[in-house]
């Protein structure tokens, strides 16, 4: 597989991760687009034969950090149905929807680790390498992220309109 097709093959996963990390569709895709632009520029610096994921996700991680430092103009995409339509009422989504609100309340440093471990199914070593932090930090943040999610979902009432389940 060529470098290019390798990169394009990673796109759906980058989008999934970005969506979970950022929350809204437009903002997440903007992050993916920035990541891809940077990745195309730096493609020659990727070591052939190595796993492309840690390289790619670390690019996204760095861009996301830059973004978090900047003030954001709040925007709403008018053609984004998610922004306007009520969430689906499928029963199996209810738990997950509560979890989504709780996910937004996590510190970004905790959220990104949880998502790399759970969605990307990276090992803790891979997460540490991707984010450039010690593995001990990965473990403690992961543990705190899960526990905080648990207390948010189970403990105090959420502000989700879908709290009532019959």
């Amino acid at each position: 597989m060529s470098d290019e097709s390798h990169l394009l093959a990673c796109l759906p996963r980058l989008r999934r991760y970005a969506r979970a990390l950022v929350g809204d569709r437009a903002g997440a895709d903007d992050l993916v687009q920035d990541t891809m632009e940077r990745a195309w520029q730096k493609l020659s610096s990727w070591r052939k034969g190595s796993d492309m994921r840690p390289w790619l996700f670390s690019i996204m991680h760095n861009l996301h950090i830059d973004q978090r430092r900047k003030p954001v103009i709040p925007t709403v995409a008018l053609d984004d149905e998610d922004a306007l339509a009520a969430p689906a009422h499928a029963p199996d989504r209810l738990v997950a929807y509560d979890l989504e609100s709780a996910l937004r309340l996590l510190a970004a440093e905790q959220r990104e680790i949880l998502l790399l471990v759970v969605l990307e199914e990276m090992t803790y070593e891979e997460v540490a390498a991707t984010l450039g932090i010690p593995i001990g930090t990965v473990m403690s943040r992961l543990s705190r992220a899960r526990e905080r999610l648990r207390t948010l979902v189970e403990g105090r009432p959420q502000h989700s309109p879908l709290k009532v389940v019959k």
Binding site: R16, G27, A77, D79, A96, Y124, R146
Partner: protein
């Protein structure tokens, strides 16, 4: 041999299925005698499942082409965006609504093909200033410009000197617009130049040229609307350009393309 004490890292590894087999047995034994811990880890596993439920559908969504297209260079990028842009405008596709928290009026975005809206505040502010300058100076029937087109050479030399870079007045006569002249205006961090054009019917266009865009990345064509004024604007190196007019977007886009092409070529 006495088993190693079970750590929190072991428990996390249990949740993620990352434990080697013998450690897995030890942790399983530990959990049997610690139901509260077992309950906690069960919850974490449910979290994992729920996160997949929630976000895995993204994997099956069609990927927008703006994400999969390979940009080869800034120049090409700009041209492609310009082309996509015009198509988007004519198709009336895609709408952004930008809420400026501290701004009294709203700006409508017709497409955001060139990237993140959250990053473009500086170019957008330039476009707004350009639109305001357009609205202030174009209605003046008697003295819309400081220096007239009859002294074009002096005008260009003067403006270039004042804004600290070589600027030119694009030739828009083939599109039916003649240069009236230009003036110097205060920009965000220094002087900016404004060239004014009109057509046979008296319709006026202005081209706003600033040189304080060093902090901004090059952009594709962007479009903003301020009241009745339509603005196409773009950043090219340290230059920021904004073409404003109360004319149809499609026509303005065509003129913006011409302006871009002319300014892109080195001066004769």
């Amino acid at each position: 041999m006495k088993p190693m004490p079970i750590t929190e890292a072991d428990l996390q590894g249990y949740v993620d299925g990352l434990l080697p087999e013998e450690r897995l047995e030890e942790v399983s034994a530990y959990l049997e005698s610690n139901p509260e811990e077992a309950e906690r880890l069960r919850t974490y596993r449910h979290q994992n499942q729920a996160l997949h439920l929630l976000f895995d559908p993204v994997l099956d969504e069609p990927v927008p082409t703006r994400l999969s297209a390979r940009p080869s260079s800034n120049r090409e990028l700009l041209r492609r965006y310009a082309a996509i842009f015009i198509v988007a405008v004519f198709a009336g596709a895609g709408g952004w609504y930008l809420h400026g928290a501290a701004q009294s009026s709203s700006v409508t975005w017709i497409a955001s093909v060139a990237g993140s809206v959250t990053r473009v505040d500086a170019p957008l502010m330039m476009a707004r200033r350009a639109a305001v300058a357009h609205a202030v100076y174009t209605p003046d029937p008697r003295r819309p410009v400081e220096v007239g087109a009859d002294q074009e050479e002096a005008l260009v030399r003067w403006l270039s000197k004042r804004i600290g870079a070589d600027v030119r007045a694009p030739k828009l006569a083939p599109l039916g617009y003649e240069l009236i002249g230009g003036r110097l205006l205060p920009g965000q961090s220094g002087p900016v130049a404004q060239f004014m054009y009109h057509d046979g019917a008296g319709q006026r266009l202005t081209l706003y040229v600033s040189t304080d865009q060093v902090q901004n990345k090059d952009t594709g064509f962007r479009f903003a609307q301020e009241g009745t004024v339509n603005v196409f604007y773009w950043i090219d190196g340290k230059f920021g350009y904004a073409l404003s007019g109360s004319i149809d977007r499609g026509e303005l886009a065509r003129i913006a393309n011409t302006v871009y092409e002319q300014l892109d070529k080195p001066a004769k």
